[in-house]
């Protein structure tokens, strides 16, 4: 009997995609995403003064606005943290509540970024002005697209949670999404420093 029991857990490990394998796989995905952003940062550095005689970043960067934006994203990371804490105490309602807060904060972040882009384009700082602005938009927008992807994932999670609650699959999904979300937070700190802080100097 015990032998069979050992067998089946073993089997489960090999096929049901045991949570630890999925989370490990997601870490690997994140590492390759890190290389993606590393390339973009390097790219931004290479073109950081390629203004082609046009407008420079300093002319447009509105630091207080971006600090607010940053604030929303950082707080959303904290609220996601609470959501996971609640998940571990099996409190579906609170998990969902904090996830909703996270969603709203993330959406505000994306909204502010879109507003900033529109403002820049309106003022004539478009991606086609110079290599600097091309690099600026690609780096910031790639992060923004990632956050948007995270939001869509989160929206799906609300449906998943109302269908099946905190079952094993959904726990793994929540944990992976939280890795993703915190990772994007860290990347944003890089963007904030390299693009905005150094740019405003």
């Amino acid at each position: 009997m015990t032998v069979t029991a050992v067998e089946t857990t073993h089997v489960a490990q090999h096929h049901c995609g045991d949570a630890s394998i999925k989370i490990f796989g997601f870490w690997i995905y994140i590492l390759q995403d890190l290389f993606l952003f590393a390339t973009l940062f390097a790219n931004f550095a290479v073109f950081s003064s390629a203004y082609d005689g046009g407008s420079v970043g300093k002319d447009f960067i509105n630091l207080p606005f971006v600090i607010f934006e940053t604030f929303f994203l950082l707080v959303s990371s904290i609220s996601y943290g609470f959501s996971i804490v609640k998940m571990y105490s099996n409190n579906l309602k609170a998990t969902r509540f904090w996830l909703q807060i996270t969603f709203v904060l993330g959406a505000i972040f994306v909204g502010m970024e879109l507003y900033e882009f529109m403002h820049l384009i309106h003022e004539g700082a478009t991606p086609s002005v110079s290599a600097y602005w091309s690099a600026f938009f690609v780096l910031v927008a790639t992060h923004g697209i990632h956050v948007t992807g995270g939001l869509i994932w989160m929206a799906c999670m609300f449906v998943h949670l109302s269908c099946h609650g905190l079952n094993a699959d959904n726990r793994v999904r929540l944990i992976c999404l939280s890795l993703f979300w915190h990772f994007l937070d860290i990347v944003w700190i890089g963007v904030f420093t390299v693009v905005y802080l150094l740019g405003a100097l």
């Binding site: 995609g17 394998i21 590492l31 110079s130 091309s134």
Partner: protein
Amino acid sequence: MFGRFTDPTAEAFSALQHEPIVLYTVLTVVALGVLLLAVITFFGWWGSLWRNWITTVDHKRIGIMYVVLALVMLVRGFADALMMRVHQAMALGSESAGYLPPDHYDQIFTAHGVIMIFFMATPLLFGLFNYILPLQIGARDVAFPFLNNLGFWITFAGALLINISLGIGNFGRVGWLAYPPLSELSGSPDTGVDYYLWSLQLSGVATTISAVNFVATIIKMRAPGMAMMKLPVFCWTALVANVLILMIYPVLTIALALLIGDRYLGMHFFTNDGGGNPMVWINYVWIFGHPEVYVLILPAFGILSEVVPTFSSKRLFGYTSMIWAILVILILSFLVWAHHFFTMGGGVAVNTFFSIATMIIAVPTGVKIFNWLFTMYKGRIRLEPPMLWCMGMIFTFVGGGLTGVMLSITPADWQFHNSLFLVAHFHHTIIGGVVFAYLAGLIYWFPKAFGIKLNRTLGIASFWCWFIGFYFAFFPLYILGLMGATRRLQHYIEPSWQPYFIVAMIGAFIIALGILFTVLQFLLVIWYGIKHKGKFPVRENDPWGDTRTLEWSVSSPPPPYNFAVIPHVTTLDAYWHMKTKNVPRKTSGFSSIHMPSNTSAGFWAGILSLILGFALVWHIWWLVAFSFVGVVAVIIVHSFIGDHRGYYFSEALVQETENAFTAYLEAKGR
């Protein structure tokens, strides 16, 4: 509505109208396609095709599909090569010499390079990984079976997209790494470069997905007891190759995305104006490109490390040094990229650094060569086809490595750069190293997948044709390079070059003969398969004898669940250990086995991403929106209604499957 189709400068159908070669090729391919579909319909194979192949999540079947894709692409890429060889043999004189106009010739060398690297070598590699890795580490599948299926279909979409460019629109005329500013809108206003960009983006997504999968599989799913230093060398090379993929493909993805930004959104990364800098692209693609050649060659080393011990009936000499050499190569491969453009003007310090780093790579590579030689030393060598390919590989690859060291000497490289000497060098390593070794692997593991070996006589003939043909086809190019012939020449005016080009053409035809023999080998197997109504009977698990790793411990072909009982590993060369210790095979008392369910989501995502790529190339924006939403929706819907629970392969069924193999073994007296 129809995007660039209505734009005359995009010349959507001009190749079909004005180039008979293209027209007839397209007609032939379409006819063959229709014939294939008709045959499938006539015999009523659709259902089985759908259930057993298209929607499968079994790593073995996906592996076979990758290999089939790769072999088809090999034929396509080789057809391009043959056309170039014939053309150059007669291209003495002016633009109108030979039979290919410049515009067409330039597309051919670009397509040849891209297809061979991204849609032949990479899928062949992934096919071998898929089939062999889980079996070698004693696992029942890869870590993420669905992602495996998805990765295949996206690769397939990329391959199809690049081949569509043959008939609709055109392909880039920019070389396989599409240097700007030529690849910018200013230099290539039509669809060619866009096909290049989007098919490579698809291939990149698929490759990344698969690499995540393989790394997770090797790290997390090894049989109990298989410590990292008991891992077969092929798995080690696979691990390192996939880690490399995860580090370099993001760079390629970004480089391509930036060029897409230039071409689609008017950005200025690699343009000559607007502060852009084309040299930045060249750095990116080679930061990707140099490690990429190690992605291809490391598993080739892994294959040799499996095949050579088997056919020398000895264990691999210097396992530990082998692993260290692989890891050293992993690191060094990131420090050499600038050897591809010593002529950039990086300065003495930069060039010296990259020159020396390049020379140092020869050291760990040499370690491996010596390890194989010492494995063979005093071994009982059997000259079966896989071993022939390996010995051909060792002999040829050393030569290619030596010319590589020649190229790494900066001042000499100023002479060799972009000459046919370089073309000879990289084919020397890529055919003599990668292709020879992969074919060795293919032939070596073939009986594992189908229960029978490929025909031996044809195999030996094929090897000798490739081997001899290679030297005829590429050694003249070394000489031509030294005589001053540059690469990518549509015509030349130096009469003394022509004889060398003619010899190279003859060499290519000898290789063609080799490919023909390989095709015949496969036709024989297909015939055997048809005789058995598509079900290959279970045969010998260890057809070569003296094999050492776990994949040979299960029947050929292996059961769907691979291992009825997960083996416990105590030593390196686990199966060899089992054989010498006479560990009995378990024949009864199995438990049911959990299996992942099939899914069609990967297939639909692949088809939709093909449409997405096509729509992006042709600027059909509504279709872009539709297919992009479609891809995302398929994945989301799969997460909701996909069958994530899998099913159980019942005890009775396991017993029945194992009994068949037991019966076979007993009939053979074992």
